[in-house]
């Protein structure tokens, strides 16, 4: 009887562990950024041509320099969810114009300049979108995949990172926290 109880307990424990593994979803999504609470690394990247008249050929961003909260979005031309979230980013960038600085970075997408240009044109993205051709900036941000969006306080410290596509509600909620 005692033996049966031991076997039952061990089987239940292993079964529980198995179920936990099956049902815990995608753990890679929940990896917190190592940058939270720290300033991001300053970067300077070439911009897509359509932004040159307004911002010049390159975009240099240093933490705290903008003086307003920032939303830094990493995307790639091959990434489906990036197409899904782009209209929400553009909408938010227009709504929060002057209050929050939006920056887009095409990354993990070496040599796909034309595809990147088509992407920014397709969604008529008004905020500056830069090209991280060798993915060094994405590595500096500790990026896992695309899309990922960093929400940065006005002083340049990273408040939150969202992995996966953003939508209007998420952007509004996170930006409200930044402005609090």
């Amino acid at each position: 009887m005692k033996r049966v109880a031991i076997v039952a307990v061990v089987t239940a424990a292993l079964g529980g562990l198995f179920l936990f593994g099956l049902l815990r979803g995608s753990p890679d999504r929940d990896i917190p950024s190592n940058l939270i609470g720290r300033p991001f690394e300053a970067f300077e990247l070439p911009l897509h041509a359509r932004y040159a008249p307004e911002f010049g050929p390159t975009l240099a961003v240093a933490p705290g320099e903008a003086g307003v909260p920032m939303v830094i979005n990493f995307w790639a031309s091959w990434c489906g969810p990036c197409y899904q979230e782009a209209p929400f980013l553009e909408d938010a960038a227009r709504r929060y114009e002057g209050e929050v600085a939006f920056v887009g970075i095409q990354t993990q997408d070496r040599g796909a300049l034309a595809a990147g240009r088509a992407f920014v044109d397709q969604f008529d993205l008004s905020f500056p979108n830069a090209i991280d051709d060798d993915s060094r900036t994405s590595i500096a941000f500790g990026l896992f995949g695309v899309p990922e969006t960093f929400f940065v306080h006005a002083d340049g410290t990273v408040a939150y990172k969202h992995a996966g596509p953003v939508d209007g509600a998420l952007l509004d909620a996170r930006i409200a926290e930044l402005r609090r």
């Binding site: 190592n34 993990q108 070496r110 040599g111 060798d134 590595i139 990026l143 995949g145």
Partner: protein, 176 residues
């Protein structure tokens, strides 16, 4: 063959140049770069951020290729393996290290397997001792029991000799 006008020739040459430049500048670039063996040794200790259970050395994903080139650049600048691993750890946290650091909670990852091995060995030792003791135990068998077994064995031997199919029937009778 029709002769091409100079303008067309120039256009053709320009097209080829653009195609060639595109090839050189494309994704293939990161792969074609000559990498030291040390790059792969370091990459072996780093987890590929976009993969499942693959190291930076093994993966062919875009980010792993860029990371290998970055490691090569840092080696060229004279950085040590420890410095390069620290560079990635600073940005990605302990998650990026395939060999977790031997401090804090991570120490458990290293100690638990050893502890499990020791506990397993102890359990085996106890069990083997118990089995041995059981084997050494002198079983007191009554003479009439001995006689019954002998008779049963003799009967089964005779039965199996007479008819092979009757082996079931010739099995020794269970003890009352």
């Amino acid at each position: 063959m029709t002769r091409l006008l100079p303008l067309r020739r120039i256009a053709l040459a320009a097209t080829w140049l653009v195609l060639l430049a595109g090839l050189v500048g494309s994704t293939a670039w990161a792969q074609q770069r000559a990498l030291d063996a040390e790059v792969f040794a370091i990459g072996d200790e780093l987890r590929c951020p976009t993969c499942v259970s693959e190291s930076v050395a093994e993966s062919n994903s875009a980010i792993a290729r860029e990371m290998r080139v970055l490691i090569q650049d840092q080696l060229d600048q004279g950085r040590t393996r420890a410095e390069i691993l620290a560079f990635f750890q600073e940005r990605y946290g302990d998650w990026i290290l395939l060999n977790p650091p031997r401090t804090g909670v991570m120490l458990l990852v290293w100690l638990l397997p050893v502890a499990a091995l020791l506990v397993g060995a102890a359990v085996m030792l106890v069990l083997i001792r118990r089995w041995r003791r059981a084997a050494d135990l002198v079983v007191d068998v009554a003479d009439d029991d001995r006689e019954r077994v002998r008779a049963a064995l003799a009967a089964s031997g005779a039965a199996s000799g007479a008819a092979h199919a009757g082996s079931d029937a010739s099995a020794p009778a269970p003890r009352p």
